[in-house]
Symmetry: C2
Subunit: 315 residues, 2 copies
Amino acid sequence: MAAALALAERTRGRTAPNPNVGCIIVDVHGRVAGRGWTQPGGRPHAEAAALAQAGARARGATAYVTLEPCAHVSPRGPACSDLLVAAGVARVVVALRDPDPRTDGQGMARLRAAGIDVATGVGDDAARRGMAGFLTRRRAARPLVTLKLALSLDGAAAMADGRSQWISGPEARAHAHLERSRHEAILVGRGTWEADRPRLDVRLPGLEARSPVRVVLSSRRDGMPGDVVRIAAPHAIATLPGDHVLIEGGMATAAAFLRAGLVDRLLLYRAPIVIGGGRTLADIGLADLGQAHGRWRLHDARQLGSDRIEVYGAG
Amino acid sequence: MAAALALAERTRGRTAPNPNVGCIIVDVHGRVAGRGWTQPGGRPHAEAAALAQAGARARGATAYVTLEPCAHVSPRGPACSDLLVAAGVARVVVALRDPDPRTDGQGMARLRAAGIDVATGVGDDAARRGMAGFLTRRRAARPLVTLKLALSLDGAAAMADGRSQWISGPEARAHAHLERSRHEAILVGRGTWEADRPRLDVRLPGLEARSPVRVVLSSRRDGMPGDVVRIAAPHAIATLPGDHVLIEGGMATAAAFLRAGLVDRLLLYRAPIVIGGGRTLADIGLADLGQAHGRWRLHDARQLGSDRIEVYGAG
């Protein structure tokens, strides 16, 4: 399942409105016969790709899928649960049940009805994180919101006069560009837009084409290029295309989203420097410290050159 | 040497004006025959304690010492280099040369003159950190200054109205009390003093007696108890007793010491909470971001409950 989850990561941010799913088929001899992941745009599905690769070796095999195989036939392809039945798979291991009402248990029911052994819940926490964009759109009718902050040890994103080049080192900055490529939209506030006119694109060799839609939080449109999307308030992110929005600044915009309870994931790059008197996070409407605890939990942390990246998710 | 360095930690903050040294004696059979560390107040020295424990087993043994054995006889005891010669030790491994002009190489010279094999530089980085208080007093004629900050992810030490109970969890707070016990003096600014009247003592079972001297940075003395020491400016820490000062707040005082270039060590407790609009570090006179880099290096990091402690030292 860990391998299937890794495959699912390949198209995170590029399969909306479909989830990014991974699938591994292990044949009767215990060998990997097929590997698949949802393709950009959402089709083919991971199972269809993995089954195509496995061919006749799928007979009697075990399929590991990060999301329940779909039960609905669409003009774009047959239902994956039917494909698995037709291929003669003996066992299907599912990380997460699909909340889409067209499936929602019916995929697994169809597999079981065909005599296939079905296990579920394997790696479900990791699957929930990997498909958080899809799940948030289903649950809350809006994209998953990641707030990216590149901070000094004292929490400054810039010096008092706005200078912020550079707080993070080159490794952290490259990682931030990789994160951009996994989001359909990047958002900045009006202040950052006017001060920096940021390109907000993906500057990594081979990934230039994956640059997301640029979004500015602003009450007025004047002076923005035609390809820039404007939203007037944080909750308007619901109207954005795709299932992943990355908020890149500034601190007032970050605070506005936190205040609105619209941040699902914190992506912190921490540089081992002290700035002092710099630009720190604005008021987020916190009533007391007790309220602040338990809200965020560390999901991942790594050293990137001299910086440290920390990813926090909802408690 | 690692074991000797660990022994040296036992009396860090309690041996001034002497260094906190550790010593291990390994006999001809490779067994530990003696363990010693500088006692509170500075005497007996680590070597004297370890040799007393080893007795006749010191003959032909190897002594591991974190600092060069002293070459000077004092009314309080004989020179450790003479003691090692007299005990018939065959080999002495030294982490760091003693900068005290009364020794400064003469301890090792005396050992070599007696036919003892002397190695040096083993574990010197760790020894330099462990005896940083002693070395800073020697080098800069002032105590080592540790700035303690308990911060949220966004760098706030308190909410905007000053509330800070609690940002850190119980494990981190207990650790902060342990750190207090390793400092001869704790300093706060006038604002923190007036707002909180902090006890600044060590509230750990068995360590209550190790509470440091309380120091307040303030231009005037009014209303402070007699046991509180007042200093008018950061550089006046040179006059404080002991080799270790811990700065505990608030943010203006922290900034004053950083601005004066008088912080040697950062002790950060980071809680996984976001405050927003809280009290962050004041201006430290930074001219540009380039200047901020390379100043601090991570020496140690650990998880303490839900918090993370990070110790930074000079680059």
